[in-house]
C-alpha cells in the first residue's frame, strides 16, 4: 500500500518535472500525455473488466471530432471543449455499450471494430462538418483559462495535457481502489460467480464502459485542441490496435501500464519506423510475440519482478 502511494506520487512528480528535464521536447511530451491518457482509459476495460476491445479509437475520435467541431462552430475555449469531447464520447460509450456488452470474446471484438468503422465512415461521409478525408481544419483555440495562449514552444500545451492527465489519473486511481473497481476485478476473474453474489454485472460493466469512453474522449479532445487538427485516422482500426499494444506493452490491469507503455511505444516507433514502415510492423509484431511467450504482463510486470528480486537480495 505504501509502495503504491509512493509510486502514485512519483507518476505525478514525473509529469510535473518533465518540462525541466526535457524543455526541448514539450510537443512530444504533450503527445505522450495524450496517448497515456487514452491507454489508461482502455486499461479500465482490458485490465480491470477483462473485456478485450479493439474499438477505443471510436471514443478517442468521437472526442476529437466533438471538441474540434465545437471549437470551430461554438466556442474556442479549451476547457469547455474538453467537457464537450468527453461528453460526446461518453454518449457514444453509453449507446454502443448497450449493444457491445451483451457479447464477449470474439463477438465483442468484432462489434468494437464495427463501432470504429461506423464512426470512421460517418466522419468520412459527413464532410461538410468534419472535413471528411482532408481532416477537420480551422481550429484555433483561445487562451487556456483566458490567460495562457498556446505557444510554439508547446509549454502551455504540455502543462494543459499533463494537468488533465494528472486529474484523470487521480480519478482512475480512486476508481480502481474503490469497491466498484474491486467488483470489476471480480467480474474479470469470475463473471458467473459475481451474478451469484448479487452483482448487477451488466450495469457495472456499462458504467465502466462509459467512464472509459469519456476518458478516451477527453484524450481525443486534447489531441484536437493541441494540434488544432483532427485527422480521419484518429478513428481507425489501426489506432485502436496501437492503443491496445501500448497498454499491453506497459502491462494491463497494473495501474501504471499506460505510463510505461505509451512513451516506450512512441520512442520505438520514432526510432524503428524512420527508414521503412515495414520494419516497424516487423518489430512491433515480434515484440508482441515476445511479450506473449516471454513476458506476459508487460513492462510493469518485468519491473515489479526486478524490484522483488532486489528487495529479496536485501533482506
Amino acid at each position: 500500500m505504501r509502495t503504491t502511494r509512493a509510486l502514485d506520487g512519483l507518476v505525478l512528480a514525473g509529469l510535473a518535472a518533465f518540462p525541466m528535464l526535457a524543455p526541448g521536447s514539450l510537443d512530444l511530451g504533450a503527445r505522450m500525455a495524450i496517448l497515456v491518457l487514452c491507454a489508461m482509459s482502455l486499461d479500465l476495460l482490458v485490465g480491470y473488466c477483462g473485456l478485450i476491445t479493439l474499438g477505443h479509437a471510436a471514443f478517442f475520435g468521437a472526442g476529437a471530432y466533438a471538441a474540434g467541431i465545437f471549437a470551430v462552430r461554438a466556442s474556442a475555449d479549451p476547457v469547455a471543449g474538453l467537457v464537450v469531447g468527453g461528453a460526446a464520447a461518453a454518449l457514444l460509450g453509453l449507446l454502443s455499450g448497450v449493444v457491445l456488452l451483451r457479447s464477449r470474446r470474439l463477438t465483442l471484438i468484432m462489434l468494437s471494430l464495427a463501432t470504429v468503422l461506423i464512426v470512421q465512415e460517418a466522419a468520412n461521409r459527413w464532410g461538410g462538418v468534419t472535413g471528411g478525408a482532408d481532416g477537420l481544419q480551422g481550429i484555433a483555440m483561445s487562451p487556456l483559462l483566458g490567460r495562457f495562449a498556446f505557444d510554439l514552444s508547446g509549454r502551455v500545451a504540455y502543462v494543459y495535457a499533463a494537468t488533465t492527465l494528472a486529474f484523470a489519473f487521480l480519478m482512475f486511481r480512486s476508481l480502481v481502489d474503490s469497491r466498484f473497481g474491486q467488483s470489476l476485478v471480480g467480474i474479470r476473474e469470475n463473471e458467473a460467480r459475481m451474478h451469484a453474489l448479487g452483482t448487477p454485472v451488466g450495469a457495472r460493466l456499462r458504467t465502466a464502459f462509459v467512464i472509459s469512453a469519456a476518458l478516451a474522449g477527453v484524450a481525443g479532445a486534447l489531441q484536437a485542441q493541441v494540434t488544432e487538427f483532427v485527422a480521419l485516422n484518429a478513428v481507425s482500426v489501426e489506432f485502436s490496435g496501437e492503443i491496445l499494444i501500448m497498454l499491453i506493452l506497459g502491462g494491463a490491469g497494473r495501474r501504471y501500464g499506460a505510463f510505461l507503455g505509451a512513451p516506450v511505444y512512441v520512442f520505438m516507433q520514432d526510432y524503428l519506423a524512420r527508414e521503412d514502415p515495414a520494419n516497424w510492423y516487423l518489430w512491433i509484431g515480434l515484440m508482441l510475440l515476445a511479450i506473449v511467450f516471454l513476458a506476459p504482463g508487460g513492462l510493469t510486470a518485468g519491473v515489479a519482478a526486478i524490484a522483488r528480486r532486489i528487495r529479496g537480495r536485501r533482506s
Partner: protein, 251 residues
C-alpha cells in the same frame, strides 16, 4: 399472508428431449432444515440452478415469501435473499481469501457500486470479513490466493462466500464434496450454527449427515420428487430404501 420462504410450484426443465426436472413441488418454511437426496443425475443441482435463477424453468413458478420470482434474474434473486454454494468450487481463484469474501460482503452491504474509496464502508466490510474468517477458521489463510489453497480449504471459502451474503434461503450443493475427512467437521459445524431463521436446503450424499441435520428430506429421482417426509419416514420408505439407501450402503 406471505407464504413460505421458498416455494417451488410445479417446476419442469427440459434440455432438448431430456427432462431434468418434472413438475417438482417443494416448499421451505422460514428456518427449515431440508435435505435433498437422490442418486447421481437425479437433477439435484439442476433444481438448485432453477431456484437460484441460473436456469429458467420450462414450466412452473418459483415463489419467495409470497412473491413470484420466476422471471427475476439471478443477481436480483440474491438481493431478494437466496444464497447458494456450488458443487464444484466456483471462486475468484487469483484473488485472496479476504478479497473473495470482501466482494460478497461489499455486495451484501450495498457498497460494491461505490466509485471512490470510502473509509467507513471499508471499515465495516473489513470487520464483517474478519468475523467470517474467524468463524470458519480461515484467518490463517486470509491473505493467500485461493488457487494456492488445498481443496478442502477452498470448499470452506465456497461456503463462506454464500454465508457472507446473509441469505434468508441458503442452498448448499454438496458443501463437503471433496473435502478431506479431517476438515468435514468445520463445514458441518458452520452449517449447524446457521441462524435459526435461515431456511436451508442441503444436497448431501452422506446419509448419516442428512439424518442428523435435516428435519425434512426430499428424495429426487430422475427429475421427480419420489418421496418427502421426516428422516424417519424416508428411512422407512420402501422405494427409497430400495432405490437409494441400498445403493448408499454399498458405496
Amino acid at each position: 399472508m406471505t407464504g413460505a420462504a421458498l416455494e417451488v410450484r410445479g417446476v419442469s426443465k427440459r434440455f432438448g428431449s431430456l427432462d431434468v426436472a418434472r413438475n417438482v413441488q417443494l416448499s421451505l418454511e422460514e428456518g427449515a432444515r431440508c435435505a435433498l437426496i437422490g442418486p447421481n443425475g437425479a437433477g439435484k443441482t439442476t433444481l438448485v440452478n432453477l431456484i437460484s435463477g441460473r436456469l429458467a424453468p420450462t414450466a412452473g413458478e418459483i415463489w419467495m415469501s409470497g412473491r413470484n420470482v420466476t422471471a427475476m434474474p439471478e443477481a436480483a434473486r440474491v438481493k431478494a435473499g437466496i444464497g447458494r454454494t456450488f458443487q464444484i468450487t466456483n471462486l475468484f481463484r487469483r484473488l485472496t481469501v479476504e478479497e473473495n469474501l470482501a466482494l460478497a460482503v461489499a455486495e451484501q452491504l450495498g457498497a460494491a457500486g461505490r466509485l471512490w474509496p470510502d473509509r467507513r464502508a471499508r471499515a465495516s466490510i473489513d470487520g464483517r470479513v474478519a468475523g467470517m474468517l474467524a468463524m470458519l477458521r480461515l484467518t490463517d489463510h486470509a491473505g493467500r490466493r485461493v488457487e494456492l489453497l488445498p481443496y478442502g480449504v477452498q470448499r470452506i471459502v465456497e461456503l463462506a462466500l454464500a454465508l457472507a451474503l446473509a441469505p434468508k434461503i441458503l442452498l448448499l450443493d454438496e458443501p463437503a464434496a471433496g473435502v478431506p475427512r479431517a476438515d468435514v467437521g468445520i463445514i458441518f459445524e458452520a452449517i449447524e450454527q446457521l441462524p435459526t431463521s435461515m431456511a436451508v436446503l442441503l444436497i448431501e450424499h452422506d446419509i448419516d449427515v442428512v439424518f442428523r441435520f435435516a428435519t425434512r428430506v426430499v428424495v429426487l429421482v430422475a427429475g421427480e420428487v419420489l418421496a418427502e417426509g421426516s428422516p424417519r419416514e424416508i428411512s422407512e420408505h420402501p422405494q427409497v430404501r430400495a432405490l437409494y439407501l441400498g445403493d448408499a450402503r454399498h458405496e
